[in-house]
Structure formats: C-alpha cells, structure tokens
Symmetry: C2
Subunit: 454 residues, 2 copies
C-alpha cells in the first residue's frame, strides 16, 4: 500500500498548456445568443467587455492552449498544489475506499480562483486595459481578482453580493490590502443596483445581480473591461490546470479515480478538475468513471432547473447562454456557501450533463457542515462551505463503499479553506444554522420569466 | 542565477530528529529556580504540569532527539513547508540582496505552532493525560493545541488574552471546530483571573496573566496538565524542524544566509529557525552570520528589559527563569501582534544574546503594517502582524544592501498568515492604526517588582 500523505510536484511540473474540452466534445456546444437579435454572438459583440485573446479562447477548438510564461511564473507562488491521500478520514469512516483530495486552499486568496484571475488580468493588461470590474459571491473571486490586479498594476472594482459583504467583512479588507475596491451589491453605483434598491432596500443580493452591476459599469466606460470568475468557457479552460496536475500526481500514487466529486456554483473549480478526466470517458478509455457535481438543495440548478437559454445576470444585460437555470430572476436563500448561490451553470457542464457524461446531486446545508467538521477533525483542514458540499458527497460515497466492501478510489476537488467563513461554523456548532428547503415557488416564478429565443 | 521560486522537499525528507542546542552551547543555560526555595527545580517539581518525556527534553544535552513516528506522521499533513525566493519583493525594492522566506502559514492552524502542539499532546497522551490547559495570545497557539488535541482525543481548555479574544473571534471558533473550548482571560474560572477582574473588570489581559490561569487550572486538577506554546527549551526544540528543513532547502539553492531575521514574542518560531544555524556560528564555520531578533517597540523585552530571574506569568505561579524581562507585572499595550505581547523571552535566546551570538531590534506597529502590505502586494501573502515585524526588518536590511551594493543573502522566518488579523489591516489601510510608544513608566514600575533570588 502507498503510505504517502501527499503528492508533490516541483514548479517545473506546472503545466505549460491548458486543456480545452471543446476539441473533444462529441457534439459542439450550443452557440451563445445575442439577447437583442437572437442570433449567435460574434467577437465584436463581446469586445466591449473582454480582451480579444479571451474571446478567442471562448470559442477555440484547439485542444491545448499555451499558458503565457508571465502567468505561469505567478502560478509558481502557490502551484503546483498538493494532492493528499485522506488516510485519517478513511480510517474515521472505516471505509475500504481510497480518498484523494486536491487542495487549492494554499493559494494566497485561499481558493482555486486565482488560476483564472491572474490569466484574465494578464490578457487585459496586454491589450491596454487598466481597470476591470467584477462581481463576487463569498468573496473568493473578488479577492482573487484583486490579487491578480496587484501583479499587473490594474485597478479592480468588485461588486460583492450584499449578504456576503456583511457576513464576511474580512474578504473585503483582503481585496483592499491587495489594492482593490469593493462595494456591496445592490449598490447605488449602477442603474441595475439602484433599481433593485428601490424595490427592496434590504435585498441580500445575488451573483446574478452583482454581474449586472459589474457588466453595466464596464459596458458604460471605455477604459474598463469586465471579468467573470466562473461559468464561461475560458474560465473553465484556465482551471484545467487543477485536473492536469492531479493526473500527474495520481500517476505517482499509481491510482485512477472511480468517482470524482466537486461542488458547483458556476462550475469552474470542479470542471477544472474533471475536464482532463472526462476526456478519458469520451474516448472510451474509462467508460465507468463517475463524475458527481454537488450543489445546494436551496439552489439546485442542475438537479431541478431547466436546460434552456437564459441570461447570466438578473438585469438581462449578458448574452444568452444555453444552460441549466433556475431563472435569472431567482434570488437564492442566503446559504453560507455564497459561491454556490447562482441561478445558472457553466454551459460546458450542462452540455456534458445532457450527454450523460456527468451526474449531479443536491445537499442540504446542515449535512454539509457536519461533513466539514468531520473533515477538520480528521484531515485538519477547515474547509470553505462550498467545499463542504463536496466533502458531504465524498463521505457518503465512502460510506457506500463500506456497505458494499468495494475499495473505490474517490477524488475530491477541494476548492479552498474556510478561514473567512468561521461565523458559519460558529452558527453550526451552536445549533443555530438554518437548513433552507428547496425554494419551489420562487423558482417556479423565475422559470416562468425565461427570455424568448428562436 | 537560480530562478526557482520555491524549494520543495518531499515528505520523506521531514527530519527524523529535532536539534538540541543545549549540546553545543559554549556555556550551559542558567538553572530554572523554584520560586519558594530559590533552588534549581528538579523533575518532581515540574511533574504536576508536564509529562516526564518533556521534562527530560527540557534539560537534555543530547544533540539529536528522535521525533516520534506518530508525530512525524501528523507533520506530513503540512510539512515540509515551502522555502520561497522573494523575487518579486527583491525587484520592488530594487535591491541586490537575495531574500528567502520559509513559510509556516500552510499548516492548518496557519502558523508554526502545531510543530510543537502535536508533539506536546502526543507526549501527554502517552502518559495517560486526557485534558490539557493553555493560554493563547493572538490565538495561533490555542488553535494549534486544539488542532493537536483533535488527533489524540485530548480535551483542550484555552485561556485567551481578552483583547485578542474580542479582536479575533474567528480564532476561537477555529478552536471549537477542532473540538476545544476557549474563554477570555482574565476569566472567572480561576483565582488569578478573578483577582484581576476585581481590580480591573476591563483588563485587556496579557500572555503572562493567561499563563497564570492555565497553570492554576492544571495545578489544581489531577487529571490535567499544562502546555506552553513558546519560551521553554522543549518548545524551541520541537520548532527546530523549521531550521533543519530550511538548511536542506538552502542547499538546493546553493545558498547560505548572511542574515537571518525573525520576530520574537516568546521566541519559539524564530529560535526554531535559527538554532540549527547558530550552531555554525558557535563552531566557527560561519563567524559572520548575523541573527536578528525583531520585537515590538511597545514590548521591547530584549532591547530594553533586564536580564534577570523572573516569573513566566503575572501571578507568580511559575518557576523562575533567567531571561530578559520587562517585569512579570507589565501588561503590554494592545498591539495587534498579540503573539509578541509577552514580558519575558525564551531563556535560550537570552543566553545566546548575552553570549553575543544574536542581536535584537524593536519596530513600531505602523512600520510593520506598511511592510506587511508591501509584502502582500509583491509576494501575494497577507502575513500575521507578528510576522510583519520580521518583514519590516528584512526590507530594511535589503534596502541597506541597495545603498552599499552588497548582494547579501537574507533569510526570513515567516511564521504565518494574517487571515484572522484582517481587522488590523483594515485599521491600517484606513489610517486609524495606533502606533504605541515605548511604555517607559509602566516597565520601570514592573521592573521594580522582580522577585528576589539568591
């Protein structure tokens, strides 16, 4: 038996190329549509918001895309990240399963997000852009973009979902420490924000609404671009560095996963892990590989949403994406996993789901924190509430193995630490954590207002 | 030129033995005295508080002491830690100096403290002890001991300096997540705490007072031992794993430091780094090596204190240690670097200072945060306020090199991240951070009340 706890790679092993799943899809992705014309968008439509290099990556069908040396050089500060074998969790569960986890929490912002943040700021800077806006849920994305901005002297303005802004003030200070600015969304700084504040001054906000504000800000200023931390193809592309490293590390352990588990909000961390593996399923090498997407029961985009064209934001400013959606007007309950509070999902994940290549399940908040505490008391790491969703499913799969006696290999995509989520753990430990139900009525209402296409 | 950013070691390279400086001291350490008799303490005097194995380590003159395999196995969760070359900071400073930093912030509690916490809980458990008390300043030590307790099913009770308890609630929740309990000190749970609360209900507390409470708790219960996170010889011994790893990593970089810089509160992190190097200075191999201890100007133990016998705690319950002291009754100003708010210092460091083998300097709070923000915006890592003291001195040494044109090699002992100190960064960024002066009168008063010996 391999007794190692960790699988290290040296910095020269950081991949030199990202993997682009669009080269290997059995069917191409449905096109992105212009909300006015209903026709597929072209590069010119996206140019006010994104640099041309990212627009090209969005639609590229090249299998491998070079990582710029400047970006790879910044990756060295925390990459390659460590792959762990969860010996202690396995023992506590008394399971024959082998559990591995790839831990992205040692990046300075504490999650996988800088993998794409640094690349996006770089490509913008290359094209002369010195100001970028974005939205953030739990604050992981906003702090990562500010971290990226600090390396290239690019000004970052972050619209942070109000509920998280107030629950997690330290994430905002982190952004400021790296030189960025951050306001709660809805904010009085944009038309979308002002409209929502008028309707509901206490609106907890949502990722969809914060996107509206950031897009509006960027769209109305020539010197400014917009950056998205998840959902889009180029974001998932940058995150594939996670799965590429993991493949090399699992080879060191002489292992290959039977099941890969990760949490999905917009989908980028988890897709970054599984895309280099789903390739093996598409080409028939690993037909039995199971890829399990875990989402919150209170925001069950893939398990309960429709697969349809919808806006990425609340105000309807973005192009239309074919994806699982709960309706762009849906505002999810204020669960602590702020990064999973999104009505839509990465089109790549939804497409793979439709093709039967990945599966999805939904978890309730209480069970995810129970799993998170068990993980902290065995593996030592206090995880982000988002990650706790994936830990819940990992533990459940390992317990199934205990019943069946199967020694399956489970790979957990661990997206980050919970150092800025301790208030949520306090509520859980004090027995005061709410366990939001499936918000059926709100979703039904939002789904009735999907945009018309075709 | 070596362009690497990081120097990794695999987990098999975790040292198998700690280095004991007592084997190589030119003169032995002064004895620890019994506060009642004024005579050197023996093992029996310490047995109510510590397991025999730690008491033996406290006085051992063996050069190498085996790390128990169980402890080493837990170390694997985060060790070996990474040694970085600070290319970006060097460039920002435009210095010819080479700056390396050994980063202990990737341990689950976020600092160097678990290096000794895990070992101490292990030795206690081996001798049948299932409950341990301790004190904590900034919370790094308390959370680390709870982390250690979670692996061995040992109950941990932490007395946390009140000012930090209120400034850093998330550290407390971290302790609870790992299964420990935490109360603010002064607390109503002990005689020492009650006496102080009667004198001053708003007392901000101090490490010295919290030690009194934890020692009293352990001393009055048969089932309970006490654990100290710094100062004592066995604690510094366990931390030498930092310096031992660093030596191997610097060999990979083909480098040896001209200057080693670290912050000192009780002294354990920094001594853990420099002790394996000071050996080279004692034996004449590296006569010019400079070892720079950095402390707060508001709690300047080595730079302004007396080298005398004093209690380790406020209430006078501990044995007497020969050390630099500001007087055990001195309560330092509430600087954010809670881990540096201690009236005394590790006797080993003081002894080496007296022998002229190490030097010390004091830094003001404002300058340390300025350095911390510069480090965050170049190297990406947001550091603990304690560490910011060492970063300040590192930057100043590198700027001196810029003046003189010398390409010195500077090694920074980076003790941990500042994720639980963001309120301090907020105050700094808002221009609201206080810059406490040298509290001359309070120290004069406390020094007038040193215990009589001999």
């Amino acid at each position: 038996m391999d007794k190692r706890t960790k699988y290290f790679l040296d910095e020269e092993s950081i991949p030199t190329q990202w993997y682009n799943i669009q080269a290997d899809l059995p069917e191409p992705l449905p096109p992105v549509l212009h909300p006015g014309t209903g026709q597929p968008v072209g590069p010119a439509d996206l140019a006010p918001l994104f640099p041309m290099e990212l627009i090209k990556q969005e639609v590229s069908t090249e299998r491998w895309i070079d990582i710029p040396e400047v970006v790879r050089d910044i990756y060295r500060l925390w990459r390659p990240t460590t792959l762990y074998r969860a010996h202690r969790l396995e023992k506590a569960l008394d399971t024959p399963a082998k559990i591995f986890y790839k831990y992205e929490g040692t990046s300075p912002p504490g999650s996988h997000k800088p993998n794409t943040a640094v690349a996006q700021v770089y490509y913008n800077k290359q094209e002369g852009i010195n100001r970028i806006t974005t939205e953030t849920g739990a604050g992981q994305w906003g702090s990562s973009l500010c971290f990226g901005g600090s390396f290239f002297d690019v000004e970052i303005k972050v619209y942070m979902v109000a509920i998280s802004y107030h629950q997690k003030p330290y994430r905002r200070i982190m952004m400021e420490t790296w030189g960025g600015t951050c306001v709660p969304s809805p904010s009085p700084d944009t038309n979308s924000g002002r409209a929502m504040l008028e309707k509901d001054p206490d609106c907890p906000g949502s990722l969809g609404l914060a996107i509206s504000e950031a897009v509006e800000d960027a769209g109305t200023r020539d010197d400014t671009h917009y950056s998205l931390g998840s959902v889009l193809n180029h974001v998932l592309l940058h995150q594939t560095i996670i799965g590429l490293e993991t493949k090399k590390q699992l080879e060191m352990a002489d292992a290959y996963p039977d099941i890969i588990v990760g949490c999905i909000g917009g989908g980028s961390n988890y897709a970054g892990m599984f895309l280099p593996f789903v390739k093996d399923k598409i080409d028939g090498t690993k037909p039995d590989l199971r890829i399990v997407n875990v989402e919150p029961a209170s925001c069950p985009t893939v398990t309960k949403g429709l697969y349809a064209y919808d806006f990425g934001d609340v105000a309807g400013l973005t192009p239309l994406l074919k994806m699982h959606t709960l309706g762009h007007e849906f505002i999810p309950p204020p669960v602590h996993a702020g990064g999973l509070r999104y009505h839509g999902m990465a089109p790549i994940i939804c497409h793979l789901h439709k093709l039967g290549l990945v599966e999805a399940r939904a978890e309730h908040q209480l069970g995810t924190f129970e799993a998170g505490v068990q993980f902290a008391r065995t593996e030592g790491i206090i995880s982000a509430p988002e990650t706790d969703h994936a830990i819940r499913a990992t533990i459940d799969e390992a317990l199934k193995c205990k019943e069946t006696g199967e020694a399956k290999t489970i790979l957990l995509a661990h997206s980050g630490h919970g150092h800025f989520d301790m208030a949520a753990y306090e509520a859980y430990l004090a027995g005061k954590l709410e366990d939001y139900a499936y918000p059926e009525e709100a979703i039904k209402k939002a789904l009735a207002n999907l945009p018309k296409t075709g």
